[in-house]
Symmetry: C2
Subunit: 220 residues, 2 copies
């Protein structure tokens, strides 16, 4: 285990793979697997073994040369790197269909992101119970975020309100935002945003579908 580099030097592409490593490793752990080689793990994730080792290399490596990785050590190590060693409470802002679906999505809690507050401006939604939690009025946003120590917010409000709500979230101390609104958010450099654009995904797929149907694809 050598020197651990600064996070900023870890390439974006590697960051996006870390959660997949963790997911698969947890699965293996649940199955009672103790050791796993880079080749086994990489093949099950459909990537090259050299890439996996290269990724781990950014954090100094997790094994001694000659010995496979130990699942029991790798899982907590990755959890620490990703920042989910302990649960990260999150808020969901916007309790429309998508917000409700996410609030109901139990997997979030399992992955270490318990929902600790659901908010909406619509009084007809306020008070609605989702998984034992009430939808709260936007008035309570700041207090709940402060009391629960929430750092990450999931934004599922209509596009036209996204920026205003974002400004409030940033002021309230939110450091990371998962944005489902089809808009680009302006935030200070000290806040991380991740855009989950549903429509972009299906359109990119549509392009490939067209390409397949027209036999215009190099692959086949």
């Amino acid at each position: 285990m050598r020197k651990i580099r600064r996070h900023s030097e870890v390439p974006e592409a590697t960051i996006h793979r870390l959660p997949r490593y963790l997911e698969k490793l947890k699965l293996l752990q649940a199955m009672g697997v103790e050791d796993v080689s880079s080749r086994q793990l990489a093949e099950s994730l459909d990537i090259k073994a050299s890439q996996l080792r290269h990724d781990f290399h950014y954090f100094g490596g997790f094994s001694r040369p000659g010995r496979p990785y130990q699942v029991g050590k790798l899982v907590p190590a990755l959890e620490k790197i990703i920042g989910v060693s302990e649960p990260q409470p999150v808020a969901i802002v916007g309790a429309g269909h998508l917000g409700q679906a996410l609030a109901n999505y139990g997997n979030l809690e399992v992955q270490g992101f318990p929902v600790r507050g659901v908010f909406d401006a619509n009084p007809r939604l306020v008070g609605l119970e989702i998984r034992g939690q009430p939808v709260r009025d936007m008035d309570e946003l700041e207090t709940v975020i402060a009391n629960e120590g929430i750092r990450i917010a999931i934004l599922t409000v209509p596009a036209q309100h996204a920026q205003a709500v974002t400004d409030r979230l940033v002021k309230a101390g939110i450091v990371g935002i998962v944005n489902f609104a089809p808009t680009d958010l302006k935030v200070p450099g000290t806040v991380a945003v991740r855009n989950e654009r549903l429509a972009v995904g299906i359109m990119a797929l549509s392009f490939k579908v067209k390409c397949i149907l027209e036999g215009d694809c190099g692959a086949e």
Copy 2:
């Protein structure tokens, strides 16, 4: 307008940007804007103008040198390239919370992907009306796909059923799948899959949040 290259030569990264171009251009069109330069468009999307021109270059360019792009011509051209000149009917398989949320998500239809079938295996959900459409039993999957000419399916079933359902979809003639299940799907090469992994997104964000909170980020 020079030679149009084969789709297979268009880089993945460019494909993912096309929908964003279209989105923004439609917005401009709605605002009555007629001309737009690569710089204006690029800046509003927070990318480099040279990249935008480079992307368009794959399709032969959309303007004469010296003249800005004409929104009115660009929109249909991009729609054609992406494959949404005419509506692409889609099916939603799995009417759990997420499936219902997507079925209710009006934006899909606006973007050219009308939902023409919602399916679930759970008899308690079958018959439920969503936006004027019934949730159908899985038995009807093949007939509806055939009758409506559906080519794209959105998969929102639990992970353990994802592969089985996928096999059925492929057999039924589906060519593109947007996969929300946290599993990798095995499909023949003639089928395109796009994974929308919610948990991966929030975890990648968590990494950056940790990086910001610990002052371990190069950016600031």
